[in-house]
């Protein structure tokens, strides 16, 4: 599903984001990406979504070489990837329902066709009763779950989560992680970036560790 071949990313000004990173994440796999702050976790995620382009090396997603992917095709790549970020990135002037429906509207579904899918996604994260609320009326954990519902509503083949539990307490974090495991169990490939080593260790999945842009460890499931 994701293959990195000697990928480097240098930001303008000489900042090193990634340095010669190679790994392969199989279809249907779940893995964690860890490392200190500034290690390059977010950079790696951005390269997969083409929020940034690699300076060197090849990135393959779903069998497509991203170097060969034209800019005009980027939106269609992103529709196949569900993303969850630490700052949940919700639209605060729209209801929970409208936030979750966004990827479907973009993909060309009429509002009436969206309803079933949106409710299913909200049901899954336990927020069906809050669909009419605005995000400000929700707690941090709930907002994060809305982001998660939005990420999965279009049934992406791949879910990327960048620090999805960043500012949640341990119990909420574990709940969110359980949700990711659920998706993985139905065949979705999941990659989660987190610097919470204790949490990552508890989950018992493959762990990729970055250090100053280099991939320094790739531990399989114990």
């Amino acid at each position: 599903m994701i293959r990195f071949d000697g990928v480097s990313k240098r930001y303008p000004g000489g900042h090193v984001g990634l340095e010669q990173v190679s790994f392969h994440l199989e279809r249907g796999e779940i893995a964690f990406l860890t490392g200190h702050s500034g290690a390059g976790k977010s950079t790696l995620m951005k390269l997969i979504m083409l929020l940034e382009r690699a300076s060197a090396g090849q990135v393959w997603v779903g069998g497509h070489n991203l170097r060969a992917l034209k800019n005009s095709r980027i939106p269609y790549l992103r529709r196949n990837i569900g993303v969850v970020f630490q700052d949940h990135q919700l639209l605060f002037d729209r209801t929970v329902f409208e936030n979750v429906a966004l990827p479907l509207l973009i993909a060309g579904y009429s509002p009436s066709d969206c309803a079933g899918r949106v409710r299913a996604a909200l049901d899954m994260v336990g927020l069906l009763s809050k669909e009419k609320l605005l995000p400000v009326a929700l707690s941090g954990g709930e907002q994060q779950r809305v982001g998660l519902a939005r990420a999965v509503v279009n049934r992406p083949a791949l879910i990327l989560a960048d620090e999805p539990t960043g500012n949640l307490d341990p119990q909420l974090s574990t709940e969110i992680m359980k949700l990711f495991e659920n998706f993985n169990q139905v065949g979705v490939t999941v990659l989660i970036a987190s610097h919470d080593l204790a949490l990552v260790a508890r989950m018992r999945h493959r762990i990729l560790t970055l250090d100053h842009g280099r991939l320094v460890a790739d531990q399989e499931v114990q």
């Binding site: 269609y76 790549l77 992103r78 966004l102 579904y109 009429s110 899954m124 279009n154 049934r155």
Partner: protein
């Protein structure tokens, strides 16, 4: 990318299956998503039927999406009424100036055309010319086959006429003398060509006792030339102010894009194309153009209502039938279309410039 169209069909193919309605949490391995080729093969036999679903779905969703985005854009404008009204007024003023000019020009043109139909020759006589010479001239003109009718207006009659029409009293005693010359008005036969009349004017000019000969046609021609120039000026003004409208809308849209940066980034991240992201902004431009055009019409009609009163007075003074006519439906339609076109243009130019940093092209 074939991958993604596969994905679409697959999704539509499953629209009504049970797992769809009961929630994804209960789905089986089936929902692994679009990167799974097996899935696509499994659904392959359904594709013929699904293609149709996709087509109708697309048209249906296209229409409802546009309706929703258009409505949202209008709601945004109405939520911020003061700023929106100021912007719309700016646009309306830019629209109404050339339209007003155009309306006035075409009204005066109608007036000119009415004069054009019946050219008249006025012979202004020298001051203090003798009655004998006046009678001679009148006799000359009566014999001219080019002239149908001859009317003599003595200086005294002229003053009386003027006093009546202008509502003045006793001009002569106020001035101490009668400033008006005697005038012989000639009405040519309708077959007379302008070449013939021009020749006649030259000929009459040389006659004894004649101070000046004036062919109305000259005035009309001059007026026509001025009007043509004004009309061109209105078009040029329209062009310049049209550009102003585009810039006003473009700038307003730019501010909106800046205030909605986060939203644009999020939509881009979940797969919105440039076109999708630009849509609300383009509708915003269209609304501004349309509201501006409508306000411009209100301005034009109000000003004409005021002006037409004045015009009636002038028209009465010149003893001519003149009714001020407003812009026709054609002009109003053009104004609306221009509003929409300028709105789209302004919004698109703004999106083109300011999306660069936010959205992949």
């Amino acid at each position: 990318m074939s991958l993604f169209s596969k994905n679409r069909r697959q999704q539509n193919g499953r629209r009504h299956t049970v797992d769809e309605q009961t929630g994804m949490g209960k789905t089986t391995g089936k929902s692994a998503g679009s990167f799974v080729p097996k899935e696509a093969h499994k659904d392959a036999h359904k594709r013929g039927a699904n293609r149709q679903t996709v087509a109708t779905l697309t048209l249906h969703s296209f229409v409802s999406l546009h309706r929703q985005v258009g409505r949202d854009a209008l709601t945004r404008l109405l939520n911020n009424p003061v700023a929106s009204l100021l912007n719309s007024l700016l646009i309306a003023v830019a629209f109404s100036l050339p339209v007003l000019l155009f309306v006035l020009v075409s009204n005066v043109q109608v007036l000119g055309a009415a004069w054009d139909g019946q050219p008249k020759i006025s012979i202004y006589l020298n001051h203090g010319v003798s009655q004998k010479i006046i009678d001679q001239r009148i006799a000359d003109y009566r014999q001219d086959p080019l002239i149908k009718e001859v009317v003599y207006l003595s200086p005294e009659q002229g003053v009386n006429d003027f006093q009546q029409k202008a509502g003045l009293q006793d001009v002569i005693s106020q001035l101490g003398f009668n400033p008006l010359p005697g005038v012989i008005a000639l009405l040519p036969v309708s077959e007379a060509s302008f070449e013939q009349l021009d020749d006649a004017v030259v000929h009459y000019q040389q006659m004894e006792g004649v101070d000046q000969v004036r062919l109305d046609r000259q005035w009309v021609q001059r007026l026509q030339a001025i009007l043509t120039m004004l009309e061109r000026f209105a078009v040029m003004l329209g062009g310049i102010l049209g550009l102003t409208v585009v810039l006003v809308i473009s700038n307003t849209v730019r501010l909106s894009i800046e205030s909605r940066r986060d939203e644009i980034k999020i939509i881009s991240m979940v797969g919105g194309t440039r076109g999708f992201i630009a849509m609300p902004f383009i509708y915003m431009g269209i609304w501004y153009g349309v509201i501006g055009a409508i306000l411009a019409q209100v301005i034009v009609f109000s000003l004409l209502a005021v002006l037409s009163h004045e015009m009636m007075n002038i028209a009465g003074l010149y003893n001519s039938e003149m009714v001020l006519s407003g812009p026709g439906f054609g002009v109003l339609g053009v104004l609306l279309l221009a509003g929409i076109a300028f709105g789209v243009l302004g919004a698109m130019s703004s999106c083109y410039r300011h999306f660069q940093a936010l959205v992949p092209d």
